[in-house]
Symmetry: C2
Subunit: 413 residues, 2 copies
């Protein structure tokens, strides 16, 4: 089943917000065996919506639209689709009742503006929106499955999960055709081209499966794709290719499937019955946020110290105030003292301390923006590494998180 | 100048990664007066790339492509464009020299695979990539400006900033045509439809300018668009419309332009010479990460405690262990004690404490997943609010951060 994703709204088009909806929808439909062939983002312009639907329906069995369903004048999707399908708006009584109950629970009355959201094209199926006011709409015409959903991510996710994915699953399964499945194999500590040389000629072992190299600041990800009629077939083929990759580049692979660098660290810590505490200065909570993004991280992560100010580094972590004055906060000594201090105070197996110049201000000739020291305290002692990222604030902070987790993972493997 | 953005790569298409490149490029070209009319994401398929370029070049003056320029077999963009423009690959000696120096600095030799990245279509202009191996390529044909850049976000941003945006600025300025500018006005504490009713009939004051309502979990954003020949004209018109919005809904507006909820909180704290410390349990660093995302936040944020484990709440924040045992960690008493404890310990004007059930596990009938207590300690005392978000882990954590900042901002205004 070929699927097209259409996002309507100037906020995406002008870059005011990132199109996370398209990625989420694509991952969901891919996981049930759908094949996404294009994402198109267009503005709040009726003719462009009509042109895009016309163009993509020729190549797709299903179109997933988000955006333009709100109660205000800039929301055009419902009217455009009503006219596109030669339909008229009628009141959907079930939706009106749901809206009235929704407002009542919030001690608000149903305004005329919101009441209009219950008027839907007569031939669509209303898809209930349990957490917002705009329902989704499903149109089924001549083999085309077209869904229009609100652009608010949580509302779209509810409607997809409750109504759209179950219906698409039934259709995809009924096709009884081979579908693609994907798995990501994660590496760290090796450049893309060196990894490609290490993996070598792929035609000899891929045999119709696919392999892509995806570098980012955490390392190079290998995406394996396999096609098969059943889940078992696809899984067996993914296992086979992953096995060959592990034979050829295993020492750089830290995991595969639904993992992150933080969850790989967590799994390695759990295996050793070990724990971790963190002391963050320039990353200011981002390392802990990545760690606690892992469900169950409380088993190996009690917490730590947000040591943004120097006096916090001294008071909470025992950094020597004379050392701090002599060598500065962004230094090997302070990174090591932070890692050691948080490990002692929190009684954990490992401690990480991060201190750096994230930018845009604060750089000096000796320590330009992007200079980051990361300390790692282990049962065997404390060491620290200097990094020179030298990008913007966001990039320096993200890379520091990746580098810190990478340092610990290296010790754990 | 109409601009199209084309993203090449299965990783976007199947939702493995979010297309943050398109949003960043769109925001940049919009800020210099370009008009983005579509983002298209397609797979690593030659015919689809050719079709998309052909389709969009009819409507666009400039096309910005990212992805598919790496050194591995799945990177097809360079070959497709070479053939599309009836060109041949020739060695770009400057790029070879840069690659050799790049490898030398890293104590690596230039492999054949990487050396091939210096072979470029003979008629393109090579755009140097200072932080990676794949150069950008600029093709100028019959009025079309087509740039192909690597998909690694930091590399694309470098090439855009150094080479692409300056050239586009010259072209857009030379057109001497009216262009659009945008500004976002931020509200919190009011629903989209109520805000729309409060703003009232927009045709009477927009007069050709535009207004869009964009709800998310932090509040409703109002995006104002204004068209004009000069920056001064556009700014004056944006000021005029923002003034009317503030007249009509000012008490729900907390700022406009390049701000976030955290930076608005920071500005309000600075104005009062006040400071903030945080104690985070279920958000595990996300609140501090949002705060320290604001450059200069060290002036009002010394840090805080990552109190993920209960023993940390007791030891570091002075939460009463018998209270904790009696009412549980997710409770009014513990949220208040965390806020009070971190304010005392860090000597700040305000303290925030967050404790909740983020999910997926840990929910009970009394305290289902999504139950979050947020405590706020001020010079006048401590209070706490219970929230029932009830979504997934990510959503519960993000909404907690937004609610905490909103609570503080309300007290500060």
């Amino acid at each position: 089943m070929n699927i097209g994703i259409i996002t309507v709204g100037d906020e995406i088009l002008i870059g005011q917000i990132v199109n996370s909806n398209a990625a989420w929808m694509a991952a969901q439909v891919t996981s049930i065996g759908g094949r996404v062939i294009e994402h198109a983002s267009i503005g709040d312009v009726a003719s462009e919506l009509v042109d895009t639907v016309n163009r993509l329906r020729g190549r797709c069995d299903a179109l997933l639209l988000t955006g333009g369903l709100g109660p205000t004048h800039d929301d055009i999707t419902k009217d455009v689709l009503t006219s596109y399908f030669d339909d008229v708006l009628v009141e959907d009584v079930a939706t009106t009742q749901r809206l009235q109950a929704w407002m009542q629970r919030r001690n608000r009355t149903l305004t005329e503006r919101n009441a209009r959201q219950a008027w839907l094209p007569s031939t669509c199926t209303a898809l209930a929106n349990p957490i917002g006011t705009a329902p989704g709409m499903l149109f089924e015409r001549d083999g085309l499955f077209l869904v229009s959903m609100p652009g608010v991510p949580d509302e779209m996710r509810c409607i997809m999960t409750n109504d759209v994915l179950p219906r698409l699953t039934v259709r995809i399964d009924a096709e009884e055709r081979p579908t693609w499945a994907y798995r990501t194999v994660y590496t760290t500590g090796i450049a893309e081209s060196d990894l490609a040389d290490m993996v070598g000629d792929t035609t000899s072992f891929l045999l119709g499966s696919s392999l892509a190299f995806l570098p980012n600041y955490l390392g190079v990800r290998l995406r394996v794709g396999a096609c098969g009629l059943t889940l078992e077939e696809r899984t067996a083929e993914l296992d086979r290719v992953e096995g060959i990759l592990r034979d050829r580049a295993g020492r750089f692979i830290y995991g595969s499937g639904d993992i992150t660098l933080a969850s790989a660290v967590g799994a390695a810590l759990l295996e050793r019955n070990a724990t971790l505490a963190v002391a963050e200065s320039c990353t200011g909570g981002m390392l802990a946020a990545a760690i606690t993004d892992v469900p169950g991280s409380s088993a190996w992560f009690p917490g730590g110290v947000l040591a943004y100010a120097n006096e916090v580094k001294v008071r909470e972590l025992g950094v020597d105030v004379t050392v701090l004055a002599a060598v500065g906060a962004v230094s090997e000594d302070v990174a090591k003292a932070m890692a050691h201090g948080v490990r002692q105070r929190y009684g954990t197996t490992y401690g990480i301390g991060i201190t750096g110049v994230a930018g845009p201000g604060g750089g000096t000739p000796d320590k330009p923006v992007g200079t980051v020291w990361i300390g790692l305290a282990t049962p065997d002692g404390v060491h620290a590494t200097r990094y020179a990222f030298g990008g913007d604030r966001r990039m320096n902070r993200e890379r520091s998180v990746g580098a810190a987790l990478g340092m610990l993972l290296k010790v754990l493997r």
